[in-house]
């Protein structure tokens, strides 16, 4: 099995692949997102260096690392919000298309949750969740509303459906953002530091929703600083520094027994207080 193959020289023994019985399409095991030899520069800054990463169906991969290590860029490059300079990214076996209709179609299958929520501020909570299904999936209005209400129920915001985003707390907005992504029935969900802009007491309500999703078998790539979530929900932890994947392992192994000095240093800084 090579499903945990990561980085040059950092390949690691495969974690057991347990079949999930959740509601998401996690049946066919095997790679869903494959990142191969990806490089990207911002001007002189080499933000992604020869990145290799394979994410299997139903797998939750947590990407951690210091600021500026390229983890957000990696996350955003998977639905091509950031174009890459070289290398390939395959989603469900297909390479990312160029900007246009094909890319829009691919993005509709890749959910994304942002640090700053980015709910559509001129639309109500319900409209935020139904917009994609109606305009992209061409679903009927009534059906879209029914699904949206079920999703809002699931993330615990159904009673706020007619409000506008600015009337909700950060944690509530982020849960709506997760519902908005889920409404598209994505194959994989990307989380770009979903709790970094939240007040401490709101972080858990968002992490709970994410943990539920993980348990239900959603394929997730999560950039986060929440080590508790990584321990609890992740199948694999990927540690990035300076644009490279330095280490990749199961959460238990990574947190108790980090092998690289860079990871040891990082963990000692964040775990001591």
């Amino acid at each position: 099995m090579t499903d945990n193959e990561v980085g040059s020289g950092a390949a690691e023994g495969a974690a057991p692949q347990d079949a999930s019985d959740g509601p998401f399409d996690a049946t066919g095991a095997g790679p869903l997102v494959v990142v191969e030899n990806v490089n990207k520069h911002f001007g002189d800054l080499h933000v992604l260096r020869d990145i290799d990463l394979t994410v299997n169906r139903g797998e939750v991969v947590v990407v951690i690392g210091p600021s500026g290590s390229g983890k957000s860029t990696l996350c955003r490059s998977i639905n091509r919000l950031e174009p890459i300079d070289s290398g390939t990214i395959l989603v469900d076996g297909k390479p990312l298309p160029q900007e246009g209709k094909d890319l829009a179609r691919l993005r509709s299958d890749v959910g994304m949750v942002f640090q700053s929520f980015n709910l559509f501020s001129h639309k109500t909570i319900l409209e935020n969740v139904t917009l994609g299904p109606v305009k992209v999936r061409k679903q009927g209005k009534a059906e879209a509303v029914k699904n949206a209400m079920a999703l809002l129920e699931r993330v615990g915001i159904a009673d706020q459906a007619s409000k506008y985003p600015a009337q909700l707390s950060g944690g509530q907005q982020q849960r709506v953002a997760i519902a908005r992504s889920l409404a598209m029935k994505p194959k994989v969900m990307l989380f770009d530091e979903p709790t970094s802009a939240l007040d401490p007491e709101m972080i858990n309500e968002v992490l709970d929703v994410m943990t539920d999703l993980a348990r239900d078998g959603m394929t997730m790539i999560v950039v986060t600083h929440e080590m508790g979530f990584a321990r609890k929900a992740a199948k694999k932890v990927v540690f990035m520094a300076d644009g490279q994947i330095v280490e990749s392992n199961t959460p238990e192994e990574f947190f108790t027994n980090p092998r690289s000095d860079r990871a040891k240093d990082f963990l000692s800084k964040i775990l001591t207080h």
């Binding site: 829009a104 700053s116 994609g132 992504s181 598209m184």
Partner: protein
């Protein structure tokens, strides 16, 4: 004293009140059509200016920079004398109809450039994350522009758009240059009448008040609309 009162004799003004009202009516028809059309042109141009296709961006910025920096009189003369009379591109055989549409087109094409720039500054107020979120749920460029970006951009620039429309309403007075008989043309006709000798000052005051009756409520309306539609972030 006697002479001073003569200057403010509104008699000749009201003697020709029908002609003046007709001038205002002609101007209103022009302003209404140009208002709608300039919003359409400005929106399309703003879409071009932020489009991912370079040719559209070049066209948008080229158009705006040429038209915005050309005197309106020149634009309208170009339409009436150049395109209509010389090149024979008439909308109709009826002079009043063809000059009306050329005035509408010239004025909207000109105002559209300003609408575009107001709207583009509105687009810049919409956080980048809104467009990223729109793209990430699979909306195409035109869908995200139409459903997410422009609705928020419009709300942000309601007040400046009001100023553009007020300027447009007053700019209708230049349309007489395009042989369209609106209020400025009517006024000039009246001033040329020998019998209208003492009516100049009342005429100017009357026309100014007429414009204010139109533009002041426009300003208030847009101010109210801006407050009402503001997006809370």
């Amino acid at each position: 004293m006697e002479q001073l009162l003569d200057l403010f004799d509104f008699g000749p003004f009201f003697d020709n009140f029908d002609a003046i009202l007709q001038g205002f009516w002609a101007m209103l028809r022009l302003a209404a059509a140009a208002g709608v059309l300039s919003l359409v042109i400005g929106t399309v141009l703003a879409g071009f200016r932020v489009a991912p296709i370079p040719v559209l961006r070049w066209f948008g910025s080229g158009y705006v920079n040429i038209v915005r920096n050309t005197p309106l009189t020149l634009v309208l003369l170009m339409c009436s004398l150049g395109l209509n009379d010389t090149l024979g591109l008439a909308f109709s055989g009826e002079p009043s109809t063809t000059y009306y549409w050329w005035a509408v087109l010239g004025l909207s094409g000109y105002t559209g450039a300003f609408v575009c720039e107001a709207l583009r500054s509105g687009i810049n107020t919409v956080p980048l994350g809104q467009a990223e979120a729109a793209r990430s749920i699979g909306l195409t460029f035109t869908q995200s522009l139409r459903l997410i970006i422009l609705p928020q951009a419009f709300r942000a620039v309601v007040a400046p758009l009001g100023s553009v429309l007020i300027a447009m309403i007053k700019n209708t007075t230049v349309a007489s240059a395009a042989s369209y008989g609106e209020i400025a043309a009517v006024s000039k006709g009246l001033l040329d009448l020998p019998s209208f000798a003492s009516g100049a000052v009342p005429l100017f005051i009357g026309v100014a008040i007429g414009f204010m009756i139109l533009t002041l409520p426009t300003g208030f309306f847009f101010g109210w609309l801006a407050k009402r539609t503001a997006v809370a972030r």
